[in-house]
């Protein structure tokens, strides 16, 4: 976006201002990219917590999605910093956040939280989980794939029963460490907003908690969708025990999430502090479609009721599949708009509490619509690549991974996960 283009956008925005805003508030600073960022990290945290259900809490039913959840978390985590980078005024200086972090700043912790989560938690967990397979593939494949898997094995070539037991124990330990880490990753994102005392829409102690539970909801919803779509693409049967369990967990997580958001809402309404009038104006006006219609009714109420009914009545399989898929998709849309309503909502009203502004976005430019759409699609491309390199389907492609060498402490594979395209 050129400087002139920015001025044109601002001139356009100025026409839609109502009431009084501070003159510097015409430009809205955190746009679609910063909506995308908490959405993506939320999916990471949610998908990881879903994976941990199987690993730590021994929810056997969701086993077919264990590896898929891990890879999903990894794919989205790899993309997570990109929207942040694209929105910076000086992306080339981004390294400063690692080299000279200002420790009082919540944002400065990004580098550490991110590096910890990526390097220590996700990469290690994926590696320990796949190591046996990687060694197998490095022996069965030839050419560049052999090289790739040999490198990925990091030189640890043994597949002795003892080493596999160690892999499993290490993986379990990392997952246990990973759960609070996932909480940290996304709770921290919530804190970035929740700790801004200048902004009454953001400043709330509940913000990190609400972010966290909405993250779990969105992560489960995403894995449901990816699992169903990937099964269809692979012409593999969907494991209904797994899917029912996922639907159940989606419902439980939704209850917690909705409960917390309602608490926040009621609390604000009841306290009715000085900002309440302008916030009410905003919710009734500029946020009506995204907050009331999309987030609350379409994305929360509809999936809530349909999931509750489905879980209570247990209709036929195809109906359940439809409900889970539909609810998952709606929930994802709702959580995206929850981020939208938080991030943009916090900037649509003036800190003078006397007026409202609008969000104008350009098509092109680092912060434009095109960049955002590409960045939203990128994790799926990364996931596709990861799935090619590290197939999460249990009966692995490589024929010669020693038969009967099933990982210890793992149950028999679910019926739906045994076939392969």
């Amino acid at each position: 976006l050129t400087v002139d283009g920015l001025f044109r956008l601002l001139a356009e925005a100025q026409k839609h201002i109502t009431g009084f805003i501070y003159p510097n508030e015409v430009e809205l600073h955190w746009g679609l990219l910063i909506v995308l960022y908490p959405f993506i990290t939320g999916l990471v945290a949610g998908a990881f917590i879903l994976a941990s259900l199987e690993r730590v809490f021994k929810v056997r039913e969701v086993q077919p999605t264990y590896r898929l959840s891990l890879l999903t978390a990894l794919a989205f985590l790899l993309v997570a910093p990109l929207p942040l980078l694209a929105h910076l005024g000086h992306p080339e200086r981004a390294y400063e956040i690692f080299t000279t972090p200002h420790f009082q700043s919540a944002m400065a912790m990004f580098g550490f939280v991110y590096a910890w989560y990526l390097a220590v938690v996700l990469l290690l967990e994926v590696w320990f989980d796949y190591r046996k397979d990687i060694v197998g593939w490095s022996q069965t494949y030839t050419g560049w794939r052999r090289t790739l898997y040999t490198v990925l094995s990091l030189g640890v070539r043994t597949t002795s029963a003892e080493s596999l037991r160690f892999d499993d124990r290490a993986g379990r330990f990392i997952t246990i460490v990973g759960i609070p880490s996932a909480f940290l990753l996304h709770g921290y994102v919530g804190f970035i907003f929740g700790s801004v005392k200048a902004n009454p829409w953001w400043s709330s102690v509940l913000m990190p908690v609400v972010f966290l539970f909405s993250a779990i909801v969105s992560g489960i919803a995403l894995v449901i969708l990816i699992y169903m779509v990937s099964s269809w693409l692979r012409r593999a049967a969907i494991d209904m025990r797994c899917l029912d369990k996922l639907g159940q967990f989606l419902f439980y997580a939704l209850i917690l999430d909705v409960g917390l958001e309602l608490l926040d809402f009621v609390h604000r309404l009841y306290e009715a502090e000085e900002s309440i009038d302008i916030l009410a104006d905003m919710v009734r006006g500029r946020l009506f479609v995204t907050l009331v219609v999309v987030q609350a009714i379409l994305g929360t109420l509809v999936p809530f009721v349909s999931l509750a009914t489905t879980l209570a009545v247990k209709p036929r399989e195809w109906i359940r599949k439809t409900v889970y898929f539909g609810a998952g998709a709606l929930v994802l849309v709702a959580i995206f708009f929850m981020r939208w309503n938080v991030v943009l909502g916090g900037q649509l009203f003036s800190k003078s509490l006397r007026g409202l502004t609008v969000y104008k976005i350009g098509l092109a430019g680092a912060e434009g619509v095109i960049t955002s759409v590409l960045l939203a699609l990128l994790p799926f491309m990364v996931l596709l690549l990861l799935v090619k390199i590290l197939p999460p389907w249990q009966a692995s492609k490589a024929p010669a991974t020693q038969p009967g060498d099933a990982r210890p402490a793992k149950p028999a594979h679910g019926p739906g996960s045994s076939s392969n395209a």
């Binding site: 600073h29 005024g89 000086h90 972090p101 200002h102 009082q104 003078s352 006397r354």
Partner: protein
């Protein structure tokens, strides 16, 4: 053998050196490479500003001078300082505006004169808070507080994340459209460190802006503080501003 006379003579010879030593002891900062005589010593200042709402006539010359002095973009979306007009109506409604930051003055509104209870102008700028939320949130330490109490931005270090703009309760910061870094009022740091007054203070025809030291009794600001009942903006946020307002109406946020 040293005679009494010799001893007293040698004392006299060392007297200047002893004097020098005693100066150093009095002001040990000198030993640490602090400024020389006549050089600017940031640690001996603590700047603030007073704003007398009763005196402001809304001419907007301060905002204009600021843009000129600090090369602030001329477009009406970027201000280091601006003037707001408040019109309190008899029905208790309050109308507020700040067209182009007040630079071109204020036109008459459509509000009938008989409906106006009271109106006044309020100059705004960075409050140079003693507990600046913008400094707190900067992830790389590019925005910082100087020893003389001014919040500045290192434009060569700022990454343009705009967290500081979000954290400022007063809307005093903007992202410079050309340099792509955060920008804000510096109290005209390049002027005040040479003993000059900020541009906005310099041009104000009614002395509605009073610049000076918060801690030093020999400045106009001290007198202003002593003789007026002052308020700061948004005190409940505990940012501890160093811009003090006289006759601040509770409608002003």
């Amino acid at each position: 053998v040293i005679t009494r006379r010799d001893f007293l003579k040698s004392l006299l010879r060392f007297a200047p050196a002893l004097g020098g030593l005693s100066v150093l002891l009095e002001n040990p900062r000198r030993l640490l490479g602090a400024p020389e005589e006549g050089e600017y010593d940031a640690a001996s200042h603590w700047y603030g500003m007073g704003v007398d709402v009763d005196r402001c006539i809304g001419c907007g010359r301060c905002a204009e001078a600021c843009k000129e002095e600090n090369m602030v973009p001329r477009e009406p979306y970027f201000f280091r300082t601006w003037v707001e007009r408040y019109i309190k109506k008899t029905d208790r409604e309050v109308y507020v505006d700040s067209p182009n930051g007040g630079i071109n003055g204020f036109r008459n509104t459509e509000i009938a004169e008989k409906d106006i209870l009271r109106s006044f102008y309020v100059p705004k700028l960075c409050n140079q808070c003693s507990r600046p939320p913008c400094v707190q949130v900067c992830p790389v330490g590019a925005t910082y507080e100087t020893k003389d109490g001014v919040v500045l931005v290192d434009s060569k270090y700022c990454i343009g994340c705009r967290y500081c703009i979000q954290a400022c309760p007063y809307g005093a910061r903007y992202l410079h459209p050309v340099t792509r870094v955060a920008d804000k009022c510096t109290f005209c740091y390049h002027r005040i460190t040479k003993g000059l007054r900020p541009a906005c203070v310099e041009v104000c025809p009614t002395s509605a802006r009073i610049f000076g030291e918060v801690r030093n009794a020999n400045t106009p600001l001290w007198r202003f503080v002593r003789t007026h009942e002052l308020e700061v903006l948004k005190p409940h946020l505990r940012t501890d501003p160093k811009v003090f307002y006289n006759s601040l109406d509770s409608e002003v946020r």
